[in-house]
């Protein structure tokens, strides 16, 4: 919510600039790759897909008894269209929203594009590929992988924003407050996103499976096989996962901060020196001031950042090699 469509001034200019440059580079690269994948069809198809994502984002779906939520669509776009085209499509949506609807600041486009398009599309794709490895090779497997990947992608987007806050906070709210609040809220939002994305992919698979890029390797036999996951089961399962995860992490991190710190030191994320973990002017003063346990926070930031970076990187790499096998006939 607050991590998306951020207005001007939400993060400091240096972060705005760096993310703008990084996003521009990635989007430019996606354009090149999309040209290979779609040749001259990419303009009408991407344009229409962007219209679809925009419309789907406007659309509110029920969450609980009158409360509604909205789809973000980054992971969904990547799974349907492939991560390169998906990123371009959501980028266009974000840019048009900022320019024409004043929804999102123009100077905030760098990090808005990164958080709403690049991270969900590539990290979402990476997660999708990983989940598909462990799920059955059939339509239900694709749908399940979509749901999980889309749900987690939302959390990762909020993590990315929190990291940007660490470097470019414009307000005296410490990083760990932002991080925990963002991740908690987006874990819940992610459940809705996961469900809706999974259900949409299921519907598309039923009508035109060739339009789901993430299922391109399935043969017609594999498509028809397998049971459908009951929606209620999925929600309960997802809630359990989230609660368990939160319990484990909080147990580990906050009851035993030294434990997490030890892990981080062992893994090389922070030095064993006990002074100012956040020394130096790299981090925003606002974000580091007031942190309870700096070592833990730095460890969390390092781990989270590494996770996001690894997933995005894996997404970038695996996107080029997809699909590994093609159906015959």
């Amino acid at each position: 919510m607050l991590a998306m469509h951020a207005p001007d001034g939400f993060l400091e200019p240096q972060v705005a600039l760096v993310t703008a440059l990084a996003s521009a580079v990635v989007v430019a690269w996606c354009l090149r790759r999309a040209a290979d994948e779609l040749d001259d069809r990419r303009i009408p198809l991407a344009g229409l897909a962007a219209a679809f994502i925009f419309a789907a984002q406007m659309f509110n779906f029920p969450v609980a008894s009158g409360t509604t939520g909205h789809l973000l669509g980054g992971a969904l776009a990547a799974i349907l269209l492939g991560p390169h085209v998906g990123t371009i499509v959501v980028t266009v949506v974000v840019v048009v929203q900022a320019l024409l609807f004043a929804d999102g600041g123009i100077t905030a486009l760098g990090y808005n594009v990164m958080n709403m398009a690049i991270v969900p599309a590539f990290a979402g794709w990476a997660l999708f590929v990983l989940f598909r490895r462990v799920l059955p090779t059939n339509a239900a497997g694709v749908v399940g992988a979509t749901g999980l990947a889309a749900g987690v992608s939302v959390v990762l987007a909020s993590v990315a924003f929190s990291l940007q806050w660490l470097f470019g906070a414009s307000a005296p709210v410490p990083f760990d407050t932002v991080f925990s609040a963002m991740v908690a809220v987006h874990a819940l939002i992610g459940i809705g996103e996961g469900m809706l994305s999974a259900a949409v992919v299921a519907a598309v698979l039923a009508a035109r499976p060739d339009l789901v890029r993430g299922a391109q390797d399935l043969t017609p036999a594999q498509l028809g096989d397998g049971d459908r996951v009951k929606a209620r089961t999925f929600v309960i399962g997802a809630l359990l996962v989230v609660v368990t995860f939160a319990a484990v992490v909080s147990q580990f991190a906050f009851d035993d901060p030294d434990g997490l710190e030890r892990v981080a030191i062992d893994q090389g994320f922070i030095g064993s020196a006990r002074d100012h973990a956040f020394g130096g002017s790299l981090f925003a003063d606002y974000a580091t001031r007031g942190i309870g346990n700096e070592q833990v926070s730095l460890a969390v930031a390092g781990l989270a950042g590494a996770t996001v970076a690894l997933l995005v990187g894996y997404g970038l790499a695996s996107a080029s090699r997809w699909p590994r096998t093609r159906p015959t006939g």
């Binding site: 509110n60 266009v92 320019l99 123009i106």
Partner: protein, 269 residues
């Protein structure tokens, strides 16, 4: 997420019904007459200067705000339109208001409450910059028809493929949004009024079929393009938007003014 009557027609995220042809409103004005490309460049420049202006240069930011209000008046954009389109900022403004309360650091007593000094500055920073930036963008869209904005992006040498995708998206946006709205309406008419997340399968199903239909339209559009000779790149018309030097100067005035304000205050301190 906000509580919302699920009447099936409410389109959320602050956009309301989409009427792209009604984005440009208000009477003819000097701002309206400017070609789109200089206006876009002027907007980018101005918003960048404002974002970079330090928060403690209060005079500069206040002057920027006054400048934006002056633009609204010169462009003859109705105030209600501006306010309505600023609604998307609401959650962030609300967040800004909490900053003096939740902010860390030095505290100051304002009446019975202890407020964070840094929080107050942060609130000022966010409210000022977010509002100025959004209002400037609103002035642009209220004075520039959407096709002109697209042409402006092209004139500014944005990558042609991106501009083309934007153009197609904008062209089909209302069509697709209408289709989605009608599907929801049809479902509500058949008494499908879901309130819980796991009841969304039919809605998701309709969203999925909308994707299929939209994609297939994309394929048909491509056929139509090919039938009219399209090969790989969008054609060049050779038509040039007449842009006078004076247009560029006028459009860059706000950015220059904002820079002047900022530099004056910074140097004076």
């Amino acid at each position: 997420m906000a509580a919302n009557p699920s009447d099936g027609l409410t389109v959320g995220a602050g956009h309301g019904r989409l009427h792209l042809d009604q984005l440009a409103v208000g009477a003819p004005s000097a701002v309206r007459r400017l070609p789109a490309a200089p206006k876009l460049a002027g907007l980018f420049a101005f918003v960048t200067v404002v974002a970079v202006t330090p928060r403690w240069a209060v005079g500069a930011l206040v002057a920027d705000a006054a400048l934006v209000v002056a633009l609204v008046v010169i462009a003859r954009v109705p105030a209600l339109v501006v306010l309505r389109r600023l609604v998307a900022l609401a959650p962030f403004l609300a967040f800004a208001l909490t900053l003096p309360l939740i902010g860390t650091g030095e505290q100051v007593d304002v009446g019975p409450v202890a407020l964070s000094v840094d929080g107050l500055w942060a609130m000022w920073n966010l409210v000022a910059k977010a509002t100025i930036g959004a209002t400037a963008a609103i002035v642009l869209t209220a004075t520039t028809p959407v096709p002109d904005i697209v042409r402006g992006l092209e004139d500014l040498r944005f990558p042609r493929v991106i501009v083309a995708i934007v153009a197609f998206m904008v062209r089909y946006l209302e069509l697709v949004a209408d289709q989605l709205g009608r599907t929801r309406l049809a479902m509500t008419a058949r008494a499908h009024d879901p309130r819980w997340l796991w009841q969304i399968r039919p809605i998701a199903s309709s969203v999925g079929s909308l994707f299929v239909r939209t994609y297939e339209r994309g394929e048909r559009v491509h056929l139509a393009m090919a039938a009219r000779g399209f090969e790989a790149t969008m054609p060049v018309t050779g038509w040039v938007t007449p842009i006078r030097r004076s247009d560029v100067v006028v459009a860059l005035l706000p950015a220059v003014a904002a820079s002047t304000f900022a530099i004056t205050i910074v140097i004076g301190t």
